[in-house]
Symmetry: C2
Subunit: 612 residues, 2 copies
């Protein structure tokens, strides 16, 4: 061992002990004949004191930033203590030292506020990983990993490894494929998730499975996606939805406790998908704050349970003579607390904000709820004071608030209102970094309509069970959509799934479902998705086969491990929580991968390029 102690553990208790440390030179400071060195390792920083007698050696072997140094000597009490670090009471009076390795001058400073840009730090990731900020992220990641494993172990879950070289069954996302040299012309696929394997394990009787496992999706990368990502993947047999919700909200609470020392004792809120969309315009609402949406106008079939409400609409914004509302499919309002005194400039800026292409609205209507109870709006000439009050009431606005109204096509308007709500929540300081609010979103639609093919696609995945009450709707109706315009009136659009998402502070951190476990229903599902019997057998014959031999009722969930860590770590970016991430083009710029391969490899794999 090159050291007797780490750089993070020496305190006043070790004074007068002879010790040896090894680590990296953080700083070198010369004061006359004396030299101070801060020596850093994974565990901390310790000050080294080099006396005059070592100057000859120091002159011959000068120390530089990031040199690897081994130093022995006696632990001494510091005259000038540093209360900010655990080792701040002592220093090491060096009697001998050895440079274990030299370092070139690093391309950026190894400090929390580094001077290195993103690209440079990605290229020299091995140096970026030395920074405290990055190290804390990876330590948090490991703590979450450890906590999850402990909880699941204590609850009788078994970690069972599933294969990485599997079969390509593209359905939804694109597979990464791997040419098989031993089976020329054939390919493995990398798993998008261990979904079918964990279901097989339930069929096999391993009634509580988990894995913290890499998954792969060959998608065009958006800002914060990675082609390989990690899931906490779980499945249980002989359970109903309620059992799963209880088991896994306790998992997240345990992680809160172990990793952040947060006692999350309250029950996790639950909300149906319809309520989430209705109230927050979003299926993963941030419920750290209210600012609920007032639904002034909306198309009936999107929210069948609200049809009555629509018909009895008190507000009637759609027949006001104001063309923007009259022509809009949807009119939604939110109230920004205490913002009634926003200036023209502030309102113009907000209007520009909603008109940005990412939000894509035509404009923004406002109603100031003045402190004196009067209203002032951008649509005064179309609406009476009573009408303005009715709109403000629909958004739960009070005197002093600012009501913001968006109008347009249903999907875009609802999304834009949700974005505006989140933006206002941020600006008003309502999205507190140290507050964590969990939410279960339930009762998702089983199907989504795919316009390009005029067919149904699975919203979660093809293995998700309909809600028990809705199974009959699925079985007794033909999935074919006769009239594309009126797909919302097809019975399938109202089938709800036994599916659930866990949302944390406005981010989906996990999702799952109760699965189909009967062959007939699974076949019906494949057919509903437009798969021929032959195709279903080719892709999923093993699963259909397994369902014939006593498949138990089962369900599960998968958490996005990277995302969960980033939220717990208070960061927007999952990349900060991955040791060796890829950039937005799917490249590892440190390795320079992907890269070309040899002729010999092409030859052995019996493939060749076919570049466009």
């Amino acid at each position: 061992m090159y050291r007797s102690h780490t750089c993070g553990e020496l305190t006043i208790n070790e004074v007068k002990q002879e010790v040896t440390l090894a680590g990296w030179v953080q700083t070198v400071r010369k004061f006359g004949a004396i030299t101070f060195v801060d020596l850093r390792d994974r565990y901390g920083i310790t000050q080294l004191l080099f006396g005059e007698e070592l100057n000859t050696q120091l002159d011959a072997q000068p120390l530089g930033r990031e040199f690897v140094l081994q130093a022995s000597g006696i632990v001494s009490e510091r005259s000038n203590k540093n209360p900010n670090i655990p080792t701040g009471d002592i220093e090491l009076a060096v009697s001998s030292f050895k440079i274990l390795n030299r370092s070139a001058v690093p391309p950026f400073t190894i400090q929390d506020d580094t001077d290195g840009g993103d690209d440079l730090r990605m290229k020299y990731r091995f140096l970026d990983l030395r920074r405290n900020a990055v190290k804390r992220n990876l330590e948090l990641r490991y703590a979450v990993n450890r906590s999850a494993r402990n909880y699941l172990h204590e609850n009788n879950f078994m970690d069972i490894e599933t294969p990485f070289l599997i079969k390509s069954t593209p359905e939804g996302a694109r597979d990464f494929v791997v040419p098989s040299r031993m089976n020329p012309g054939q390919f493995y696929a990398l798993p998008q998730s261990p979904q079918t394997f964990k279901q097989l394990l339930m069929v096999s009787g391993y009634d509580r499975y988990y894995q913290i496992v890499k998954c792969f999706r060959d998608e065009d990368l958006r800002a914060d996606r990675q082609p390989e990502f990690t899931q906490i993947d779980c499945e249980m047999a002989f359970v109903e939805q309620e059992d799963i919700l209880n088991m896994f909200e306790s998992l997240i609470k345990r992680i809160f406790k172990d990793v952040k020392n947060i006692d999350y004792t309250e029950a996790v809120e639950r909300m149906t998908w319809e309520d989430a969309m209705w109230t927050y315009g979003n299926d993963k609402p941030d419920i750290r704050f209210g600012m609920k949406i007032g639904n002034l106008k909306f198309p009936a079939h999107t929210f069948p349970s609200r049809i009555a409400h629509l018909q009895n609409s008190l507000i009637g914004v759609g027949s006001s003579g104001f063309p923007v509302f009259d022509n809009a499919e949807t009119v939604l309002a939110i109230a920004a607390k205490g913002c009634s005194e926003y200036t023209r400039k502030q309102l113009d800026e907000l209007t520009e904000w909603v008109k940005r292409p990412q939000i894509g609205m035509q404009g923004l209507i406002y109603i100031k709820c003045n402190a004196d109870g009067t209203y002032k709006s951008s649509v005064d000439k179309f609406f009476s004071e009573d009408k303005l009050k009715a709109i403000a009431d629909a958004a739960d606005a009070e005197a002093g608030d600012l009501v913001l109204v968006l109008a347009g096509r249903e999907e875009r308007t609802r999304k834009a209102t949700s974005e505006l709500r989140l933006e206002m929540g941020k600006r008003l300081g309502l999205r507190k970094e140290d507050e964590f609010k969990l939410l279960w979103v339930l009762d998702f639609p089983l199907f989504e309509y795919a316009e390009e093919d005029n067919r149904w696609v699975a919203r979660h995945h093809p293995f998700t069970s309909p809600k028990p009450d809705h199974i009959a709707i699925m079985i007794n109706n033909n999935p074919v959509i006769e009239n594309a315009e009126k797909y919302l009136e097809h019975p399938y659009s109202n089938i709800k799934a036994n599916a659930y998402d866990m949302v944390l502070n406005g981010n989906e951190i996990g999702g799952g479902s109760i699965r189909i476990f009967q062959r007939e229903l699974q076949e019906k599902m494949f057919a509903a998705l437009g798969m021929s019997e032959e195709e279903a057998l080719h892709k999923f014959g093993f699963l259909l086969g397994a369902f014939e031999y006593g498949a138990p009722p089962h369900g599960g969930i998968a958490f996005g491990f990277d995302r969960l860590c980033s939220i717990l770590g208070g960061s927007e970016s999952i990349r900060d929580f991955i040791a060796f991430p890829k950039n937005n083009a799917g490249r590892d710029v440190m390795l320079d991968a992907p890269s070309t391969i040899d002729e010999k490899q092409f030859d052995e794999l019996q493939i060749k390029l076919n570049l466009k």
Copy 2:
């Protein structure tokens, strides 16, 4: 929840409680009006008693093997107890039941001694996994996983995930490659191990890393190899070989304790590679038994440390006038305890055994050490009784033993003698299943000679450091081999590595090394392996670069997790310890993978087939 208890937990303490169980029907037995059902789940088996009143329902819904059943009723004490199972004191007097799912008749019986052949069980792996024998294996695997993680965690190791989509750097084994759609014409590779990443993590200061991680090698599969396999992968910084040996023999001892309840308190034996080859003919000797090799004749340069012994050879078997010995490069002997009375037939059978193509010897010479002190051999006419005694003494034979002698080319003869030793050990019951003997094999050669290219290849991998004393030999000599015939006389053939293997009962369960951590030495190593500077930079530029910024001394080890589990589980086959293994052609016969992919996938990846 479909159950209040599992099928493994009800005992006499629960008698009179009302409970609900769910599981699979193992057996149905009818006695008159009464029906007994054994209900099975992951935790055990519980007997269900269906009284006369349920016969109408049972007739309408007959139960079959592997049906999934939910049954409620009262726990009752059994009149006819079964002491062999934990639930044997009770039975469940069923008051109501529900068939949760039916099952077709399974293609083989779900029992320890199943009637299903290998192929059938692989195709229906989800049913094979139900068998107790397989379940026990996966449970053991999870226990090893858990034990290893706990030990490593307690010793400050951090689980850090390394990427799966990396760069192809074929060196040794073949890479699996993954075409990149976003970077047409370029490929990722799947990692053969996280070797370079864990070294980068050491450079980054994470001084104790571990991962239980999938690795991939596209090799022609031998009997017990898998294209994807799992390693317990570890690395430490600021350590010397001794630190690593101590840390990881304690890991294995901990696993023995946690998983097998074995107190392995003795120090782990250590042996140099030369000693292992000299004494056991093998670099992973099974030291549960002796039967050490007597080296009667051998080529000097293979064992430089034995040259003196050769020159002073007392036995001189090579000038006896017996042409088999005279013409042989190597003559080796072992003594089979108490076998001096082997019959002609037994000796003939042994001779046939060594002549099998897998062993490949021309014949077998024997010397019977008779109980009366005389010798009887197959080469009596060439050797005097004294000479026979000297040979017998070299093999440590005593009266009553049978000495077996093999002669021929060095490599084959040594290997054959090792195989014969293991075979005799097995036949004589010396390789006890419940005995576990660990061994460190040390000081491996750094290089191996590759005849086809007349160059050196790394025996471990190109990142392994020479022993400190041997670094100068490496630096000061030209790696070029002028005379291929005399490669053993090249100074490189005597360089030993700072490498170590852990051997358990004759199986290599782990291996590792102290790594090179200086750029210059790493460059010298790449050059010694015949890599051009350009090639080295293209493949490993990131590592060479990292070594410029303060790389600490470091080293590590990787354990073959599948193999370790199979040995602890007392099986020869790693496949039994993998939930979803592939067959010898690298196929998953259950999934039918690999398989063809769509035109669309070829198109997007911009590759096409080039079948021969």
